[in-house]
Symmetry: C2
Subunit: 185 residues, 2 copies
């Protein structure tokens, strides 16, 4: 019962909402979950087969516009498995911020280099923020009609808040680097 693989849990979690194809699961990860989780096809498809083999999901062939899709549905056992995992305490939250890593060792290359990394980071965040704001709007509007999305909304708000903090930090970091560069305004 121990050692739940995270990839199984994410997939079951997504399937607990609605039946999905492997491709759609990947899409969800790249959008709705992108700021706190990720996975590649190379882990998604094998995991799906495995879930079916263990009776935690079922697979159905489905045809849309003459194009066949494989849709996965969570089973009762799958739902139990998910619930069991959800009740366990969180093992670890981890980040691997290469940007911060490069910045940490910034004195090897100087402020100009550090500035470049900060600006690239800033742009990446600025590009992603609108999606989250859009999602927040939709979710807030439908909150009373569909309260099951309350949790989704909470994670979106986490994303928005942290992204805005990142942007704030970028501004401050750039200011500090400029100030210390020796040329006042």
């Amino acid at each position: 019962m121990a050692n739940e693989k995270k990839i199984d849990c994410v997939i079951l979690g997504l399937l607990s909402h609605e039946a999905l194809t492997g491709y759609e699961i990947k899409k969800r990860m790249d959008t709705a979950l992108s700021y706190f989780w990720g996975a590649s096809y190379g882990s998604i498809y094998p995991a799906l087969s495995d879930l079916v083999a263990r009776g935690l999901a079922t697979k159905k062939e489905y045809s849309e516009n003459n194009r066949k899709k494989l849709i996965y549905t969570i089973t009762d056992d799958g739902r139990d498995y998910l619930k069991n995992w959800l009740a366990l305490p969180v093992e670890k939250d981890e980040l691997r911020y290469e940007t911060l890593l490069k910045l940490f060792f910034g004195n090897e290359k100087g402020p100009a280099q550090a500035m470049t990394h900060i600006e690239a980071f800033e742009k990446k965040i600025e590009n992603r923020l609108p999606y989250l704001l859009y999602a927040e709007n939709i979710l807030t509007e439908h909150l009373e009609a569909d309260p099951t999305h309350k949790y989704y909304l909470l994670t979106v708000r986490f994303g928005i808040k942290t992204y805005r903090t990142y942007l704030e930090w970028c501004g401050e970091a750039k200011a500090l680097l400029k100030k210390n560069q020796g040329n006042a305004d």
Copy 2:
């Protein structure tokens, strides 16, 4: 020249400041780098041997209080390797927030369960924040005397800002869950 392993880069980055033992490197990761990077002994020690084999670091036996230590020093080649990596654009920043994952699927188990995860997260962050604040004080004080720590300070401030945002979010998330639970104060 491509495919720089991150573990090599972190270690070289730490060694670029001062010569260290494997044990000390691990310590740095668990404190100064903890909120944006991590590694285990099982990756640190083999990486150190490898760096020596490639001429990017040297190893010296050293005795302190009759206890032998293996101290690693960065070489000129190591410094070049590090600088080269620092100049490359950031490949990816990634987070794996199990807390957010469990929260995302929270409607399977309800608000009480979600609350538990949020509170555990909150406590973890509250416990770690003081270390960062302490580090910020020290670094700010010594900033003019030792400007090489400017970059370290930037990452510490990143940690503080994001941690504070996390705590803010915890408060809001708990409020939303309570409100929707149906019992107004």
